[in-house]
Subunit: 192 residues, 2 copies
């Protein structure tokens, strides 16, 4: 079965037993938001105990406090009433295995999928590539605790984020499923 | 119990029964990615039938093909080998209830949470506000089928996205839990 048909069949089964979930309100019932990574191993609903309707979940490569993540968080607070936020990066993140220079070089050579060896990513195919990658900041990570701390600090300092909103910093351990506090981030993220 | 303690208690229970999930590989096992909205009512793992390790999930306000979502999708394909993508917006999305002008006006008046009345959002508190909101494109939505079609087209046309990657366009119905195809988006998103 194709991926598309698998997804549609799974959706059919979910919708068949949807019940009272169709009456949920738009604003998050538990009043918080999580910013985390797109990584396939992470299921924020499961690792943080969310039911449908509970909380906003924002995800991108790395779980970074990009301009777009901040756009989403500001909408979450200003229009939909969340009052606390989590920034959750994770161990063994793909964003640790390359730099802006590496991905720009790889994409200039070929758009096709690279392989990952002991020395990092390398291209197995050839062209066509694109020089466009140099106009993008890829938001790579060299140290998870540092990236969480930086992202919490960036969010707290943003002119559209009100003073006093707590922002908690955690790392999700993909081997154990546990959330590990990043003390430097949590200190910076505390309500004023 | 505070939100933070609730999340940590739920995580403790999840980790206690983590089992073989600790051995999952970094690249998505089922080779696809979903771009969807941060809305609390949406659980992509449930509505699309994902287990941990299966697929990348990218989420922002509206599920829009922002520059940051494209950063994430390019990493997903180039470095982590996904081969098919979904763009899934949804009915009753908060992004339909305001415009750039509205949110800029609200944030200039006050950063605090607004209320939603029959005529749209309005401020209940006062100051401090910020004029910074005018530097952000809020990516609001006036028509879901149109926003899905535009976003699929933007992704397909991006210079860092290889020709031939299928991008499927759907709307998730929050009342029924069903995925509804957007034919104009799917046609534009077909593999070359």
């Amino acid at each position: 079965m194709s991926v598309l048909n698998e997804v549609l069949a799974a959706n059919e089964a979910y919708a068949a037993d949807f019940g009272a979930k169709g009456e949920l309100a738009l604003p998050p019932a538990r009043g918080f938001a999580i910013l985390t990574c797109m990584d396939a191993r992470l299921d924020p609903a499961k690792y943080a105990g969310l039911s449908e309707g509970d909380a906003h979940v924002i995800r991108n490569a790395g779980g970074r406090a990009s301009d777009d993540a901040i756009r989403s968080l500001v909408i979450s607070y200003k229009l939909l009433g969340t009052k606390e936020w989590f920034v959750i990066h994770h161990s063994n993140c793909g964003m640790e295995f390359f730099t802006d220079e590496v991905i720009r070089g790889l994409l200039a050579n070929s758009l096709e999928t690279a392989a990952l060896g002991v020395e990092g990513f390398y291209d197995v195919g050839t062209g066509p590539g694109s020089a466009e990658a140099k106009y993008i900041d890829w938001l790579t990570i060299s140290d998870q605790a540092q990236s969480v701390t930086e992202d919490v600090a960036r969010i707290k300092a943003h002119p559209l984020v009100p003073a006093g909103i707590p922002v908690y910093g955690y790392i999700y351990d993909v081997v154990t499923g546990r959330l590990i506090e990043v003390p430097t981030a949590t200190a910076a993220g505390k309500a004023a």
